[in-house]
Symmetry: C2
Subunit: 368 residues, 2 copies
C-alpha cells in the first residue's frame, strides 16, 4: 500500500533532544521539579514491573572502561540506552559517563525519540535513589553523608533535599576540589530548602550520626569506602557507585549487617555491591516493596541498603519524561534517521527517485 510522500515524510522524522537542549529544558522546568517528575515516573513504572520485558544489560569491557547497551520494553514502548564508564576520561577532557538512547514503538519498530542521556542519567539515578529511600529510610531522616563528590553528587543532594526533606549534608571526597565544587554548586539552592552543607575531614566524620549515607565514587576498583564499624542503627545506605564488575564501595560486613534491596537481581548480582557476596545472599527487589509483596524497613533500628547499579527501566521512565517535557517546552528538534519511502516495499526508490540519470551516470567503475 502506497501513501502520499508528504505524509510519509511527516511520519518518519525522529524527535531529537540535544545535550544543550536537555540542559535548557531542565533549567526552564526547574531541576528539582524534573527530579520530582522523574522519581514519580520511575515509581509508577516499578509499580507495574510485571509489564516489562527485562534483561541484564550487555557489556563490552576493555582495559580503559566499559560500554553497555540497556534495553527494556513494555507492550507499547521500547527503550534502550548506550552508556560508557571510563574512569580516566576526565584526564582527556571527557566525562567519565556519557550516554544517549532512544524510544521506539513496539508495534512498528519506528524510533520515535533519540536523546542525549548523559545529563538525563544523572537525573534518573538521583531520582531512583530518592524514590528507594522514600520507601526504605526512616521518615525522620534529615542528615545525609555524601561520599564521592563527582558528577553525580549535586543531583543526589538535590533529589534528597527535594523528595526526602534532607536538611543537612556532609560532604567527603578524597579530592578536596571535588567537595569544593559540590559546595559551590549547591549554594544557590540552600536557602529555599533551609538546608546546610559542610565538608567533613574524612568519610568516617561525614558518616557519623548521618541518617542516610550516599556513596557515589567513580574508581573502577574494589575500594572500600564504608566499613561495618561506621554503621549506626536506623541508617539507610544509598550505594550508587558500585555498578560494574570489579567496582565496589562497601565492606562485605556492611551487607551482612543490612537488609539489602536491589533493582533487578540478576544484574545486581554481577555488578553491584552484591558481587562480593555468596550467590544465595538474600536480597529483595525494590518493586516487591512498592507492590507490598515484601516488607521494606521493619523498625527504626534496622539498617537498610539500596545497592543501586542502574536499570534500563529507569531510563525508559526518564526518556518518556524528558520527551514529554521537551515537547511541551518546544525544545525538540527532528532528525531524519529513517528514510521516507513513497512505497515502503521499494527501498531502492530512495536512490532512484531524485536523480535517476545521475545514478546511472555515476554507478561505479563500469562506466568509468
Amino acid at each position: 500500500m502506497s501513501i502520499p510522500q508528504t505524509q510519509a515524510a511527516a511520519q518518519l522524522q525522529t524527535d531529537f533532544l540535544s545535550a544543550s537542549d536537555a540542559a535548557r529544558l531542565v533549567m526552564r522546568t526547574g531541576i528539582t521539579q524534573v527530579l520530582r517528575l522523574m522519581s514519580e515516573a520511575i515509581e509508577a513504572d516499578f509499580m507495574r514491573w510485571q509489564d516489562f520485558d527485562k534483561s541484564a544489560r550487555t557489556a563490552a569491557h576493555s582495559a580503559s572502561g566499559v560500554i553497555e547497551l540497556m534495553p527494556v520494553a513494555d507492550a507499547q514502548d521500547y527503550a534502550f540506552k548506550y552508556v560508557n564508564g571510563h574512569p580516566h576520561n576526565p584526564q582527556l577532557g571527557l566525562p567519565t559517563v556519557m550516554a544517549f538512547g532512544a524510544l521506539a514503538d513496539v508495534a512498528t519498530g519506528m524510533p520515535r525519540f533519540v536523546s542525549e542521556l548523559t545529563l538525563t542519567t544523572a537525573l534518573r539515578t538521583a531520582a531512583t535513589s530518592a524514590m528507594a529511600a522514600k520507601h526504605l529510610a526512616r521518615k525522620d531522616s534529615r542528615s545525609m553523608a555524601l561520599i564521592g563528590n563527582g558528577s553525580q553528587s549535586e543531583f543526589q543532594a538535590l533529589a534528597f533535599m527535594e523528595l526526602l526533606d534532607v536538611r543537612e549534608l556532609r560532604l567527603f571526597d578524597i579530592d578536596p576540589a571535588a567537595s569544593q565544587k559540590l559546595l559551590r554548586n549547591l549554594q544557590p539552592f540552600l536557602a529555599q530548602f533551609g538546608a546546610s552543607v559542610s565538608i567533613a575531614a574524612s568519610a568516617a566524620d561525614a558518616v557519623k550520626d548521618a541518617d542516610i549515607v550516599t556513596t557515589a565514587t567513580a574508581d573502577k576498583t574494589r575500594a572500600t569506602i564504608i566499613h561495618a564499624p561506621l554503621l549506626q542503627p536506623g541508617m539507610h545506605l544509598n550505594a550508587v557507585g558500585g555498578d560494574c564488575p570489579g567496582k565496589t564501595e562497601l565492606a562485605a560486613a556492611v551487607l551482612h549487617r543490612a537488609s539489602v534491596f536491589v533493582e533487578y537481581e540478576p544484574q545486581t548480582r554481577m555488578e553491584g555491591e552484591l558481587q562480593q557476596m555468596p550467590a544465595d545472599f538474600a536480597v529483595t527487589e525494590l518493586w516487591r516493596v512498592l507492590q507490598k509483596q515484601a516488607p521494606g524497613r521493619t523498625s527504626a533500628e534496622e539498617i537498610t541498603l539500596f545497592d543501586s547499579v542502574g536499570f534500563a527501566l529507569e531510563d525508559y521512565s526518564a526518556l518518556r519524561t524528558m520527551h514529554r517535557l521537551a515537547r511541551q517546552a518546544g525544545l525538540l528538534s527532528q532528525i531524519e534517521l529513517i528514510p521516507s519511502l513513497p512505497d515502503p516495499k521499494d527501498l531502492f526508490a530512495l536512490l532512484m527517485q531524485s536523480h535517476r540519470a545521475q545514478v546511472i551516470q555515476l554507478s561505479g567503475r563500469q562506466t568509468a
Copy 2:
C-alpha cells in the same frame, strides 16, 4: 583537569549521516562501487575474526515483530545497530526493516558517528551475500534465481552482477507487483553488465538450472520456498530471509543435502534455517573458510548453502565504510549528543553555566 570550553565543544560533536544523505552518498559514489567497497571491508574484517568481542544480538519479540540490538567491538571501535523486523509495516506506510546505529571509541566510550542504517543494512546484507558466494559458489556461476522481490532484492541483484559476474536473473515473488518493481529498478543497470532479467511463473521455474539461488522473503512464518527436489548439483544457495526464530525459507531436506556455512554459529542456531535442525547438525563458520582453516566448496557438484542471518560485524564494517565515504564526500552533519563540559567532572555546570540566575528563579515549585 579542565580544558578550554571551545576545545571541549569541538571534540564532543558526533558525526551524523541522515537517511537522505546516505542515499545521496550512495548515488554520488555509485551503488555498485559502494557494494564493492563494503564487501571488501566485510571480507577484511572477517579475516581478523579473532580481534572481535562477539555476542548474539538481543531481541525483544512482540506480536507484531522484533526489535534487536547488535553490538560488536574490536580494540579500537565499538559498533551497534538498532534494527526492527515488522512484516506488516508496509500496510502502515512503514518499511518492514528500519535501522540506525553508532560507532564509538573503545578507549573513551565517546560516540563518534550516528547513522541511518536502513539503506546501509540492505547494502551490507547484499555485500555479505556476494562475499560469501565469491568463496562458495562455482566460479562459472552466471545465472541467479531471486525469490522474494522486496526491499532487499535490488541490492542482492546488483551485488551479484558486480561482484560475481552474474548475467542472468530470474525473479519470482508471490506478489507480481514486487517482481515488476524489481524489474523496473534493475532496468537502468542491465546494459552496463550485459545482463538479462526475466520474471518466472513460479519459484520452481526460477530455480530450474540456476547456478545461484537467493531467497529473500519477508514473512515471519515457517514458509518453505525451496524443497529438496529443486536442488541441482553445483548450486549455491544464498538464504537471506530466514533470519529470526520462527522464520525459515528452506525445507530441512535442503539443509541435509548441502554443505552449510554460517556467520556466527550461536546466533544462526537460534535464527537461521538452522533452527529447524538438530543442535549437532554440522556447519562451518564462514571466517574459517576465508582464513583457510576449513574447506569451502570442494567440488563442482557440491551444493553449498550460506544460511545468512546478518551479524553485527557486518554493520561494524558498513558503518566504518559509510563514515569514511561520507567524510570524503562532505555529507556528514553534526549532532550534539554529548555535553561539552569545561570541567568534565562537573556535569552540573552544564545547568548553571549560562543562566545561573534563571535557574534559581525557575528552580521548581519551592519558588512558585
